[in-house]
């Protein structure tokens, strides 16, 4: 106690500085860094806005019209076409199911080839992984546009577009699921003298299947959204109906379809979450 009293304030400060140097002396560069990042981000933001002609007058102008549209949405109305709308929603669901299934079928071989612990050839593994990374970024709508041009209007390009968009994403997830398998279970089966297919069936499948199934369910959910989107460019279903009504400014019907859609997505979400919780 005595020596703390004997210390001069300057000494105390010096001691404190020595003990926690970063509490007081943060170099100027480090203190300026957050501000520099913030300024740069803000400058980038302004530059982008100028590039896009996004000014307050444009926004003010549009918001008035948007208010009119929102007002026109009330009260929502089915326009006397309940059965047609429900059928369109069911069609969209069908599109999502088929697209997901086709995507899973396409992703399985890629996932197997992309897994490092199954394919020892580094070149194959590398190429498959890179290809999947490259194609992962292409949204279903971009696929749908070209496929509609290739095979005509209808559900076929929609299903194919959903599958093409899913294959690289699911393939990557499958490969990662297979790579994260605990190898001890495989080894113990190999030690009992089981054949290759038995090792896969009992040593890997039980570990991989729940993870993959839960991801497939998640993609089914996502594809319900994507199926509505590809409908806009001519793959039928609810997207087509919505697009049609937006173009003729029938916003009360748009509101009804949107509400219906949100409710159904919510239900799907709930079901798939329950199933996924059971799987894992």
């Amino acid at each position: 106690m005595n020596d703390t009293v004997a210390l001069s304030p300057a000494d105390m400060i010096a001691r404190a500085r020595a003990r926690v140097p970063r509490a007081i002396d943060i170099p100027l560069r480090e203190r300026l860094q957050p501000w520099a990042i913030a300024t740069a981000t803000f400058a980038l933001f302004i530059a982008c806005c100028i590039d896009l002609d996004l000014g307050p007058d444009v926004l003010a102008n549009g918001i008035g019209k948007l208010g009119g549209i929102l007002a026109a949405m009330w009260p929502p109305s089915a326009g006397g076409q309940w059965s047609r709308l429900l059928l369109a929603i069911a069609q969209t669901l069908g599109l999502a199911v088929l697209g997901t299934l086709l995507g899973i079928l396409g992703a399985l071989p890629l996932g197997l080839m992309g897994a490092r612990n199954l394919v020892s050839n580094a070149a194959i593994h590398f190429i498959v992984r890179r290809m999947m990374d490259v194609f992962r970024g292409i949204p279903a709508l971009v696929w749908a546009l070209i496929l509609v041009a290739a095979c005509g209007l209808g559900p076929l390009p929609g299903v194919l577009a959903l599958a093409f968009a899913d294959i690289p994403r699911l393939g990557k997830l499958f490969a990662e699921a297979i790579e994260s398998v605990d190898r001890r279970q495989r080894e113990s089966l190999q030690a009992t003298g089981a054949s290759g297919s038995l090792v896969i069936r009992f040593g890997m499948l039980p570990q991989v299947l729940p993870v993959c199934l839960s991801q497939c369910l998640y993609y089914l959910e996502q594809n319900f959204r994507a199926a509505a989107v590809v409908g806009v460019v001519g793959a039928g279903g609810i997207g087509f109906e919505l697009n049609e009504r937006i173009r003729i400014f029938a916003f009360d019907e748009v509101a009804l379809i949107t509400i219906l859609y949100i409710v159904i997505v919510g239900l799907l979400d709930e079901v798939s979450q329950r199933l996924r919780a059971r799987l894992i």
């Binding site: 549209i69 069609q91 971009v142 697009n243």
Partner: protein, 301 residues
């Protein structure tokens, strides 16, 4: 002496009970699997029926159709004229004939993604404090904000873009607004989940020194979550870039407009050229953001 003589009757009885139980379990398991299989098959059949996939005819035979299509999509490059000028058939420059225009359109798409992600991120951050159950005790307000975020996330972005386009006319502004709404929805959910995992002791420490709610959030919550939040934000930027490219297809500005134009003039090789440009752009952003994210995660550890 036979092997069975080694076991007495009691052992055999136990074995029989075990066998019986095992068979019963196996049967139940198999029935359950069969049930799932039937359910999935039924779902599949209904989907096939509803989507009218069976009725879609492909005109020519499949093989022929695919062959013509692939032929029209691949550019007819000639080795001797590969680097010739734009006006020579078979040169790279004639394949990418509108490159300067496309680059401007790509810049527009990138700008859309940046503005959408920035503004959406700011909205999401402000709302996520109110949507996190440990930071906002007002339950009705919390539920209201959460439901709104859910709705913003659920409505497909293309539909939003069409609605915004009817108010703000076709162009990038409609695309940016769409991205803002969908980013607010998805990042708001992720951010609020992050905040629910935040340590509350820091917040309490700030409260004990007399800091108000804003200061508690600024100095108690943000510093511990910043790397995570920024990494989610960067991930969203990547996703928004491809979303922005797609939004152009319905007229919301950027490179998608050029894609749509290529299709309406049935220039399938041009479509491929633009697609390659988009892929290149996404890959670059991907790599940069992956670097940044790894650095951030390193900083967090």
């Amino acid at each position: 002496m036979s092997v069975s003589a080694l076991f007495d009757a009691e052992d055999r009885r136990r074995a029989a009970v075990f066998e019986q139980d095992w068979r019963k379990r196996r049967l139940a398991h198999r029935l359950q699997n069969l049930g799932w299989l039937l359910l999935v098959s039924a779902l599949l059949a209904v989907s096939l029926e509803l989507s009218e996939l069976r009725n879609s005819s492909v005109g020519l035979g499949w093989g022929e159709r695919v062959a013509t299509f692939v032929d029209r999509m691949t550019p007819h490059l000639r080795a001797d004229a590969l680097f010739a000028s734009r006006n020579t058939d078979g040169s790279l420059a004639s394949w990418f004939y509108d490159l300067p225009l496309w680059l401007v359109a790509i810049r527009e798409t990138v700008a859309m993604a940046i503005v959408g992600t920035l503004v959406g991120g700011v909205f999401a951050l402000s709302l996520s404090f109110l949507a996190a159950s440990n930071l906002n005790a007002n339950r009705p307000l919390r539920v209201l904000i959460r439901r709104s975020l859910d709705a913003a996330r659920t409505i497909p972005d293309v539909i939003l873009a069409l609605i915004f386009a009817s108010a703000f006319s076709l162009g990038p502004v409609a695309g940016v607004l769409t991205l803002i709404v969908s980013t607010t929805g998805s990042l708001g959910k992720l951010f609020s989940e992050c905040m629910e995992n935040a340590r509350i002791r820091e917040v309490e420490a700030i409260a004990a020194t007399g800091g108000n709610w804003l200061l508690q959030m600024r100095f108690g919550v943000i510093p511990q979550l910043l790397p995570q939040l920024v990494s989610y934000w960067l991930l969203r930027l990547e996703l928004n870039l491809s979303a922005a490219a797609a939004l152009g297809i319905v007229g919301a500005g950027g490179i998608g407009v050029e894609l749509q134009r290529a299709i309406s003039f049935t220039e399938f090789d041009t479509y491929l050229a633009i697609l390659l440009l988009i892929i290149a752009c996404i890959t670059v952003i991907d790599l940069v953001s992956e670097r940044l994210r790894h650095r951030l995660i390193g900083a967090m550890a």
